[in-house]
Symmetry: C2
Subunit: 223 residues, 2 copies
């Protein structure tokens, strides 16, 4: 338990420290679905509906949600708003996260303009690059700043999470600097396997690897 | 076994149809590493080196690679070029894949300009959008075309794989059209869970879900 919003968390949250990556992903899927049905004015959903959306079994849904309290009763469905709030709490979304974006190229621009980003409580507080032609240019209400100032900027603005969209060659140096400045969560788009110290959580999004999983599937389909 | 390059495949490849997603990802990681050491002029690598790069154990590496033939001998290391070629073959990279990009916004542009894409044998043969202001505009040697012509374009150019970078609201319609036109592998960046028929392999890259797995980790770290 950490961070300014700790007071919001119920004691049960502690038991979730060991849940698997795939369980966290299922929670994210449930959350997307709950957002949609809540926007549509619905007050309850069934485990079958949640399952259909996530491509999983309703038994798995009931098992996942059984950890969240006793409100999911068979036959009556889950209360949408309460379940949405509970999942947001588990995922750490009951607060705003301060994010730095490192790499102001085309991919950085795509991330910057991605709407879902801000809507979910991610507050972009810095955009950094090494290119003198880009430094000083405005993106929205931020000016692009020099990666050389990364440590100072991260500390001063209390950056908690970073998105790395640099070329592969510079990604490890950037991640070392981020970790050194105290950032403990990094989403990396650079196509290189990066090494981080144990206190840092790193997630990689690698377009080529996703494409390779598709060509593997295409190559080995049963025909 | 399918596709024009079937003749390149050894019989052993058949046994890989059931390997897990995570094993396919490890193969992708080994391949990145092998590319690097080959470029550096090295002729052999050890399982320990391959393991360090992928953040896994050397025992797992030896187990993965034991399926590939008898050339990985303890003490002598793996022959870099042969292993690289073998993994490329397994992943279906021994040939060129014809790709369509649907959605010519900022994210589409980032995908389009992503260097690794072409280098790995992915040949972008069409870029499509719905916006009349974008249709006809040139991206490299392609002109952006109307999504209304998707079926005709996919069939005429033998598109095998599609990358979807449309807004969430239109992604399901696009994916339905792609599947209807015969595309069997789709990489989806739109932040919506999509439904595809059983013959289609879908991979999702969802920025918000990746960020949520990070906020989950930040929220539940042991401090």
């Amino acid at each position: 338990m950490t961070g300014p919003a700790s007071g919001l968390y119920s004691p049960f949250v502690k038991s979730f420290t060991k849940i698997s990556d795939s369980a966290v992903r299922r929670l994210s899927h449930y959350l997307r679905f709950l957002d949609d049905v809540e926007a549509a004015g619905r007050r309850t959903v069934s485990s079958e509906e949640l399952a259909a959306r996530g491509g999983i079994t309703s038994a798995q849904v009931r098992k996942d949600l059984s950890h969240f309290g006793s409100f999911g009763k068979r036959g009556t469905g889950y209360p949408v708003t309460l379940l949405r709030e509970r999942i947001e709490e588990i995922l750490g979304l009951g607060r705003t996260w301060r994010v730095a974006l490192v790499g102001a190229g085309k991919l950085g621009a795509a991330v910057f303009h991605y709407g879902g980003f801000r809507r979910q409580g991610f507050d972009l507080v810095a955009v950094l690059d090494t290119d003198p032609a880009k430094i000083g240019r405005r993106w929205g209400d931020l000016a692009i700043e020099d990666v050389a100032d990364l440590t100072r900027i991260v500390k001063k603005r209390h950056v908690e999470l970073a998105v790395v969209t640099t070329p592969a060659a510079s990604a490890q140096d950037v991640v070392d600097a981020l970790a050194g400045a105290g950032v403990e969560a990094i989403l990396n788009f650079a196509p290189r396997k990066l090494v981080v110290p144990p206190q840092v959580t790193l997630r990689d999004v690698n377009l080529v690897m996703e494409l390779e999983s598709l060509t593997f599937a295409l190559t080995h389909r049963d025909r």
